[in-house]
Each structure stands twice: as C-alpha cells, then as structure tokens.
Subunit: 167 residues, 2 copies
C-alpha cells in the first residue's frame, strides 16, 4: 500500500509545526549539523532563509518539511540543494520519500539540472538508502566531517543526482 | 628565491582594495560561482559575512585576500572553509600559496581539525596543483557543477586536508 501525502509552500503560520519537527530532529544529533539552536535561529536558517520551503501534509497535519535552494550562486546555481525533515511520529511511513519526489519535480520545473546534498551523515543508513533508491550517488566523502551525538566523528557524504536523466 | 608576504585581519578601510581584487576575479568567470555581483553584494558575501577575513600585503599594498570560516555549523564546525583571491597584477608570485599557508596556521590555532573547499573548478589547474602541493586531496567531484565563462559546464571538485597531520 502506498501512502499518499500532499505538499504545499510553507507560510509563517506553519512555523510552530515546523519547529515541532526541527527541534527533536536537531536534538537527535545524528543527521543535521545544527546544534543548540534557538527557535529564532532555526526559523532564520529554515523558514526565513533564502530558500523555497514546503510542508508535507498527512490528513491536514504537517508531517514533514523541506527546503529547496540553489546550492551555489551564479555559475553554480543550476545545481539545487534540498534538505528534508520528517516529524519523529511520522517516520517510516514514506513522508521523506514523498517529499524528495516532490522536490525533484519542483526542482525540474524550476529549471535546475541537478540536486546535491552537501552533508549526508554516513551512519544515517535509512537516508543513504533512500537517496540511492531515488537515483542519488555518492560523489564525495568528507572524512570525519560530522560529529555524531552517539558515534563521535563519522564521515559526511556528498550525494548528487542528475535531474535531466529519466527518473 | 622565496617572496615573503605578510598578512593581517582586514578592516573596513580595506574594502576598496579588496573590491579591486574581487571584481576582476569574479568577472573572469573561471574560478568563483559569484556572477554579476554589485560591490555591495560582494562586500556582504566577503568582508561582512560571518567569517574572518584577511589581506596579504606586498610592500604595504594589498595583493590578495582570504576568508576563513566554519564550513558547517555545530556538528560540522570542526572543518573550516577558506577562499582565496589574488590581485590579477600579483598572480604567479606566490601570494596564493602564502595566504593558504597562513590560513592553515590560523585554522590550526583556532582549533579546526580540517579544511575543506566546496567548489574548486576542475579546469583551474594552477589552483588544483597548488592545493595538491599543500596536502589537499580531491574527496569529491560534482559533474558539471560549474558553468565556466569559456568552457561551459565543467566539474567542480571538493578538496580537503586534515590539519592534524604534519604539514
């Protein structure tokens, strides 16, 4: 059975729901570099940053959020960057996959030719497996690039997918 | 003969000299992603960004500039990022090497354990060769990640150096 989720652009009214996702995800210390961020700092780097931000809805409730932006300015702006967070209570139900597929559709429509993730924690096996299933490959590895809350220094992967190839 | 250059932290008074370097380097379109930036935008991303900025002096004249900052927040902040620009009139005289050596000393003193460059244009052979000489290795490659002014899409390299190994 395939669960279906809808997505829409996020607005200021979504901030409490987004923070309810960001706070525990960041606190886990196993997937995002942010650490000890206040709600104001989190809002500045996610909702109010120079990115398009979306929420995934599960029966009207916000179950995830993602952002989409150029990975570099100007001469690198044809490659986008995206970041995804799933509410802990909604994990394992396909929200991340649904958001990533949605992000690729939106990125192609916006004219991006590729998508790049700059810091995929190597020990985050569910994420790495999902990105591989969605056509991303590991194009780089930063030795000890991430200080994991449980495991200490672990590698950070750079993953990449050409958006002009067939899905 | 080894040319010697000194470095010091940059201040607001250095902005005209820094812009005199940034403008032609960016206009070449062969090494930095920034494109069509105004002086105000350039100042915001270089001198006024959340980074330490330095200038290299050659007989009292500013011959280069570099910045040093964490490559990621929090759990990735032990790896620094640096960016270097040499005045076109001073190129080929070792200013870039002197700045990079200085940056590594300052980065170690600041407690960083590694240095990462996120976008080294693969066709920029002098830069790639210099980074290799200074102990950096290619840890990633983004296919067509840079839209080069002359060559179109070329690969972007991610280069990395452990700062805890002997120089």
């Amino acid at each position: 059975m395939t669960q279906s989720f809808s997505t829409r652009p996020a607005g200021s009214d979504d901030w409490p729901a987004i923070w309810d996702i960001m706070e525990p995800v960041i606190a886990q210390g196993d997937s995002y570099a942010w650490e000890h961020v206040t709600p104001e700092e989190a809002r500045a780097v996610w909702l109010d940053a120079d990115a398009e931000v979306f929420v995934a809805l599960d029966g009207g409730k916000v179950a995830g959020t993602y952002l989409l932006k150029p990975n570099q300015p100007g001469r690198g702006a044809h490659v986008c960057n995206a970041a995804f967070m799933v509410a802990p209570a909604a994990q394992g139900r396909g929200v991340g996959r649904a958001m990533a597929e949605d992000a690729m559709v939106r990125a192609r429509a916006a004219g991006y030719s590729a998508m790049q993730f700059n810091l995929v924690v190597a020990t985050n096996e569910p994420a790495v497996a999902l990105w591989r299933q969605l056509g991303f490959g590991v194009v780089g590895r930063i030795p000890g690039g991430f200080r994991h809350a449980q495991h200490g220094l672990v590698d950070a992967l750079i993953m990449y997918r050409d958006l002009e190839e067939s899905p």
